[in-house]
């Protein structure tokens, strides 16, 4: 679907979407949808006036995907370990993505992003349990001052988006991504079709990763490594 009415031949479209002439698996598509949604939420955070209806709909979509993923046992690719957690606990924290510039310095997700792991958003972002009250001490993302605290407090629920909408802190796109390697956003623009403003670069980037994704099994392994890495950092702080 191309916003400007560009005509594409069927063959081109196939190639762009699939990447390697294989039909993307359902879980791959689902994962890329999740990534896209998280990016959308993060971007709407940075707008001066986020559209609440849009944010709510995207957040609900994210929840649906996560619930389905946990039902399927593919959440984090480590179903057994997380078996004791209720599905709602596996709400992915968008807090990392929504970090202010000062907190974004040296955040561990960044290296993983550069690794090009498709699973990065799902596996990296820590699990939060707002239902179980394991909220981090900080009640509002935007009120955190110390990057140190930020690093240790991944535990923000998806739902905090809405609190932050009330305590808006407009951060420019540039601030948030100043520390991210811009080569990450080398995009496959064929996938996205629509280029407007700064949004497409991110969405396209993630789509680009979708196309280049490794098969699921190897992703599981990388998830494990990454999660260990997360745990290390948590323990250290």
């Amino acid at each position: 679907m191309f916003a400007r009415g560009l005509k594409r031949k069927y063959g081109d479209q196939e190639e762009g979407v699939e990447g390697f002439s294989t039909v993307p698996s359902y879980s791959l598509q689902r994962q890329s949808l999740l990534d896209m949604s998280l990016v959308k939420l993060q971007l709407c955070h940075m707008l001066v006036e986020p559209n609440l209806c849009r944010s709510v709909l995207i957040a609900n979509t994210v929840r649906q995907i996560q619930e389905e993923m946990s039902r399927d046992g593919v959440w984090h690719g480590m179903a057994p370990q997380n078996a004791e957690r209720a599905p709602i606990d596996r709400l992915v924290s968008t807090e990392i993505l929504c970090r202010t510039a000062r907190a974004a310095d040296g955040e561990h997700p960044t290296p993983e992003l550069e690794d090009g792991s498709l699973q990065i958003s799902a596996s990296e972002l820590p699990i939060v349990s707002s239902a179980q009250g394991q909220r981090s001490p900080q009640s509002s993302l935007w009120e955190m001052d110390s990057p140190q605290e930020n690093r240790g407090s991944f535990h923000k629920s998806l739902d905090h988006i809405f609190e932050t909408l009330e305590n808006k802190n407009p951060n420019s796109v540039e601030d948030l991504f100043s520390d991210v390697d811009s080569s990450y956003y080398d995009l496959d623009t064929v996938l996205t079709g629509m280029m407007s403003g700064t949004k497409p670069s991110l969405c396209s980037g993630l789509d680009g990763f979708t196309a280049a994704a490794p098969p699921p099994s190897s992703t599981c392994k990388s998830d494990l490594t990454e999660l260990d890495h997360v745990v290390e950092i948590l323990v250290e702080t």
Binding site: M1, Q29, R54, V56, L57, A59, S157, N167, M194
Partner: protein
């Protein structure tokens, strides 16, 4: 609207009488007044432009007048909320006319936060022959005044004056999406994402909150209000729609806070069509009562539905606006097009419904004959005085010569705002920054 031939005449003989090009800004709302004599448009720049229909000439009593610009004024200016460090857009979200009670016209216009009541008056006479002032208004030398005269009213060029009579501010924390004037002509309501307030037209420092769906914990928020409207006849009834596709009819007599609905209209989900986008496409973007007050019209992303107020279980009619987009939902989600809010409209006799789509297409559905038509609002495709040609979107399979393929649709050309004259077959279509007014010269009366 009886026979097929009549239907075809109505659908096909819409002429383009007048296209007013506003270079400056994207039109964000269109609204006829109660007689259809005036048409108001609001734009992203906070301006309101009012068009007036020229009176029919006595020589040709059956030819309808055209719409010309009547007045233009700046309704809202951009503001800055210092507390939240946010800009408040001046874009006019909605305009609603008040029923005319004297020579003046009044309308309510609103942006995200503030509603304003504007009074539009005409001045076509002015007094001349003052005793103390001369023609230019300068004080006369009293020694030259030898007799007294009574000033007389002399005709002058028509001047339309617009003045803000009321400013209803600070009533909303969230973005206002709807306003609706009550049939009692004394009150009106304004709805934002989470709350609905009731105002008295004469009182600006107070409003009553009648619906509040904000959860105690914002983290629990999963549903927002998307549109609301008062019943056209029953001043105690109003409806509001949600992002989950439900409609709630509320009775203000039941309680001060109408959080408990009197009726809940919800269609059960179709399990065969379920996807991650099901909820998003079920979100109702507009709700309109029929003129009769018996039905409601809702628009969600892919369909328009007619609901009978007496039946909550499901709509009585469902019309597909652009079902060919159902397989494209993922890309539409990515481009944010899936969040586009299309409006819908009834014709004066509630027999035809209309809504916009992409590629500057708009659709009309005849409820009686079940026929539908797709028309295009663009300068290229319709010369003045020409009859609009029906368009067709092909989804593969047989393709006719003038068909448009789904992949060639221009998703930046969206018709979100449309309005239908209350009594005649005249429609106003806002296509980005262009306003199109189409009239049906063949069948001017509503069937």
């Amino acid at each position: 609207m009886g026979e097929d031939t009549d239907t075809r005449k109505i659908n096909h003989s819409f002429l383009r009488d007048h296209s007013y090009v506003t270079e400056a800004d994207v039109i964000s709302t269109v609204e006829f007044n109660h007689t259809g004599e005036l048409l108001a448009t609001g734009d992203k720049g906070g301006r309101v432009v009012i068009f007036q229909r020229e009176p029919e000439s006595k020589n040709t009593p059956h030819s309808q007048g055209e719409y010309d610009v009547y007045s233009t004024f700046q309704s809202h200016e951009p503001e800055f909320d210092y507390l939240k460090s946010l800009e408040i857009e001046e874009k006019i979200n909605k305009i609603k006319w008040l029923p005319q009670q004297n020579a003046a016209h009044s309308l309510l216009s609103t942006n995200d936060k503030t509603i304003k009541l504007w009074k539009i008056t005409e001045r076509d006479k002015r007094p001349e022959g003052y005793n103390l002032k001369d023609e230019e208004g300068k004080l006369k030398d009293l020694s030259t005044v030898t007799s007294l005269q009574v000033p007389v009213l002399k005709p002058m060029d028509l001047m339309v004056e617009v003045s803000p009579r009321r400013i209803f501010a600070n009533g909303h924390t969230y973005h206002i999406n709807s306003i609706s004037v009550n049939s009692d002509c004394e009150t009106y309501m304004s709805a934002d994402d989470l709350r609905i307030n009731l105002w008295h037209l004469a009182i600006t420092d107070r409003s009553f909150n009648i619906v509040d769906i904000k959860p105690a914990n914002m983290e629990d928020l999963t549903e927002v209000i998307t549109a609301s409207e008062f019943h056209p006849h029953h001043c105690n009834l109003f409806v509001y729609s949600s992002s989950k596709g439900s409609l709630r009819l509320c009775d203000m007599r039941a309680a001060a806070l109408c959080d408990k609905h009197s009726k809940l209209f919800e269609e059960p989900e179709d399990p065969s069509n379920r996807s991650f986008f099901s909820e998003i496409i079920s979100s109702v973007s507009d709700v309109k009562f029929s003129h009769s007050g018996r039905y409601m019209l809702t628009r969600d992303y892919l369909t328009v539905k007619v609901w009978d107020l007496n039946m909550e279980a499901r709509p009585i009619e469902t019309y597909q606006v652009h079902d060919y987009l159902r397989s494209k939902l993922c890309s539409l989600y990515e481009s944010d097009c899936i969040f586009d809010k299309f409006e819908c409209a009834w014709n004066g006799s509630d027999s035809v419904i209309m809504t916009g789509a992409y590629n500057n297409f708009f659709r009309m559905f005849d409820r009686n004959t079940k026929r539908d038509v797709t028309l295009e609002a663009s300068r290229e495709s319709s010369k003045p005085r020409a009859v609009l040609k029906p368009r067709r979107v092909c989804v593969g399979g047989k393709r006719r010569r003038d068909d448009i393929s789904v992949d060639s649709l221009d998703f930046t050309k969206k018709i979100l705002h449309t309005a239908w004259h209350p009594a005649e077959n005249i429609i106003a279509i806002a296509a980005t920054n262009n306003l199109y007014i189409f009239q049906d010269k063949v069948n001017s009366d509503m069937h």
